[in-house]
């Protein structure tokens, strides 16, 4: 069990399967809001669904309307269980805030060294850490 301290964006404790992207994600244009499937051509996660996952990615990118898209994904029940970012972009941060999706950023160690897609990961955003099983 590895524990990495991180800064809380939205409180909450969630455990789930990790889905890891080493490149930024745009929720506007990059993810289908009805299905939660990544649709950006050539994206590392193209064709994969973010619903119910612990979504680990460096940061958001692209349009600032991403928070509407994320809200729609939330309305469709396809949001990730929790989010780990290296540095939260303002669009992703407010997306987590309005949907109450537990989220941390600024981890003290590089999460990409420890987390692979499929790993079981807990985000404890109440106390500010992530744990990899």
């Amino acid at each position: 069990m590895i524990t990495i301290k991180a800064k809380t964006v939205v409180k909450g404790v969630v455990r789930g399967e990790a889905l890891v992207s080493h490149i930024p994600i745009s929720f506007r244009g990059g993810v289908d809001s009805n299905t939660g499937i990544v649709v950006e051509p050539g994206h590392e996660l193209e064709g994969q669904c973010i619903a119910g996952k612990i979504l680990v990615f460096p940061m958001g990118k692209g349009s600032t309307t991403g928070s509407w898209q994320f809200y729609e994904i939330y309305k469709q029940g396809k949001v990730p269980k929790g989010i780990v970012n290296i540095r939260a972009d303002g669009v992703v941060a407010v997306s987590a805030v309005i949907t109450g999706t537990p989220m941390v950023h600024n981890p003290e160690q590089d999460p990409f060294q420890y987390i692979k897609t499929g790993d079981m990961v807990t985000i404890n955003a109440d106390e500010g850490y992530i744990q990899i099983e």
Partner: protein, 418 residues
């Protein structure tokens, strides 16, 4: 986070649930960035249109108004789906007329000025150097920071709406001088910049955005006479492939009279990024997503066309006719459309078989009804527009220069870069 008395009143619900919710959003965002306090904003701009807000978002806005949310700060709004003046002619399905009417109503009730423009900085929403502002629409934000020197983070719509209602924004990121220093130097000396057109600059920026990621790039070797249209080409594209909020163009950006000023002194120690002409050519292929030559629609206006850009299309179309199976749309603001009438551009474009449409942008607004009407392959002179119309509305896109797009409109086929 330190809150002033009025901000505490807001968060305690003294002004109602709507303003309270807005203050909660801002403190949550502020705390995640360790902001110490809020700062007043002088200008707000909202990005989303019905196509990306959808019913869930419309409801969110209606709830905010019902719960007492009203903007305190001058607030403008990005393009929507159509111009009511042209709704019959376009033609816009009844369902979207209803939805846009609902958008109009809720935004008006919120106190937003219905500009429906993404070049709001050309038509009345003009901050001053050093102003704290909250501008969503990633292209507008980077324009404000880089060309005007006003200060905006890459805020999501919900953050800027909260700022409009409360009048404040958490002070972090690009609101603070020490976070506005250049972090990476862009070298363009191995590219044929002197021959670059508007599309070439976008292809260049497409590739650069991937390498810049969320850092602040400094361009110090662009030609001093580079026109604003080409600076916009760079800025608006960098925000698609990168997470860029501020770009220093040495000699143009108010905070960057010299490279030292741009970087806060230590330019020599910064990473340098350069790309090759091959990378730029590869970017062209990557931006286009179509393989079908036949073009259904040529569309200009991401961001909305300025009067100069429309003049350029008018000149290219002089004495020509648009192909009978191809449409040509020029998207702009209502102000510029009015100017087009006065300049005779509206008549000229109409005579050639095209149309000038106000209140929409070329990236998304109209695609929500055009795609079901059988428009599948589009030609566009915006990399940003290509990306969003393909990924959000499944349009197949050709990306190229204004000239290549006009030629496609005349021939009905894409003959440009591929």
């Amino acid at each position: 986070m330190y809150l002033r008395e009025n901000e505490i009143d807001l968060i305690e619900g003294k002004y109602g649930r709507g303003p309270q919710r807005c203050m909660e959003i801002l403190t949550a965002v502020g705390e995640c960035y360790d902001a110490e306090r809020m700062v007043p904003v002088t200008s707000v701009h909202i990005a989303g249109n019905y196509g990306n807000i959808r019913d869930g978002g419309l409801q969110w806005l209606e709830d905010l108004v019902r719960d007492g949310g009203r903007v305190k700060v001058f607030t403008t709004k990005n393009p929507e789906m159509f111009d009511f003046e042209d709704a019959d002619e376009l033609p816009v399905p009844e369902i979207y007329r209803e939805k846009q009417k609902m958008m109009d109503d809720v935004l008006r009730a919120l106190g937003v000025t219905l500009t429906y423009s993404c070049h709001h900085y050309l038509v009345g929403n003009v901050p001053r150097f050093g102003d704290h502002i909250a501008w969503a629409s990633s292209g507008s934000g980077v324009y404000a920071n880089s060309i005007i020197g006003a200060r905006s983070n890459r805020d999501g719509d919900h953050t800027v709406i909260a700022a409009a209602v409360t009048g404040v924004i958490p002070e972090y990121g690009l609101h603070l001088s020490h976070n506005r220093k250049g972090q990476v130097i862009i070298k363009t000396d191995n590219l044929n910049i002197a021959d670059y057109n508007h599309a070439d600059f976008q292809a260049m920026a497409w590739e650069l955005g991937k390498k810049v990621r969320d850092r602040i790039p400094v361009f110090d070797d662009l030609p001093p006479d580079i026109v604003i249209q080409n600076l916009k080409a760079i800025l608006y594209t960098l925000t698609v492939t990168g997470t860029v909020g501020l770009v220093h163009f040495v000699g143009v950006t108010p905070e960057a009279p010299t490279i030292e000023a741009a970087c806060g002194g230590d330019a020599g120690s910064l990473e340098k990024i350069s790309i090759t002409q091959k990378d730029v050519e590869q970017a062209y292929r990557e931006i286009s997503s179509s393989s079908d030559e036949k073009v259904d629609l040529v569309i200009f206006g991401c961001p909305q066309c300025s009067i100069q850009e429309i003049g350029e299309v008018v000149d290219l179309l002089e004495g020509k006719k648009i192909h009978s199976e191809t449409q040509l749309w020029i998207c702009t603001s209502n102000w510029v459309k009015t100017l087009c009438k006065r300049m005779g551009y509206l008549e000229k474009i109409k005579a050639a078989g095209g149309r000038i449409v106000a209140d929409i942008g070329a990236a998304d607004g109209p695609h929500i009804y055009l795609r079901p009407q059988g428009v599948r392959v589009i030609a566009i002179n915006s990399a940003r527009g290509s990306y969003y119309s393909h990924n959000s509305y499944k349009m197949e896109t050709w990306f190229g220069s204004t000239k290549a797009c006009v030629q496609a409109a005349i021939a009905g086929k894409w003959r440009g870069y591929r």
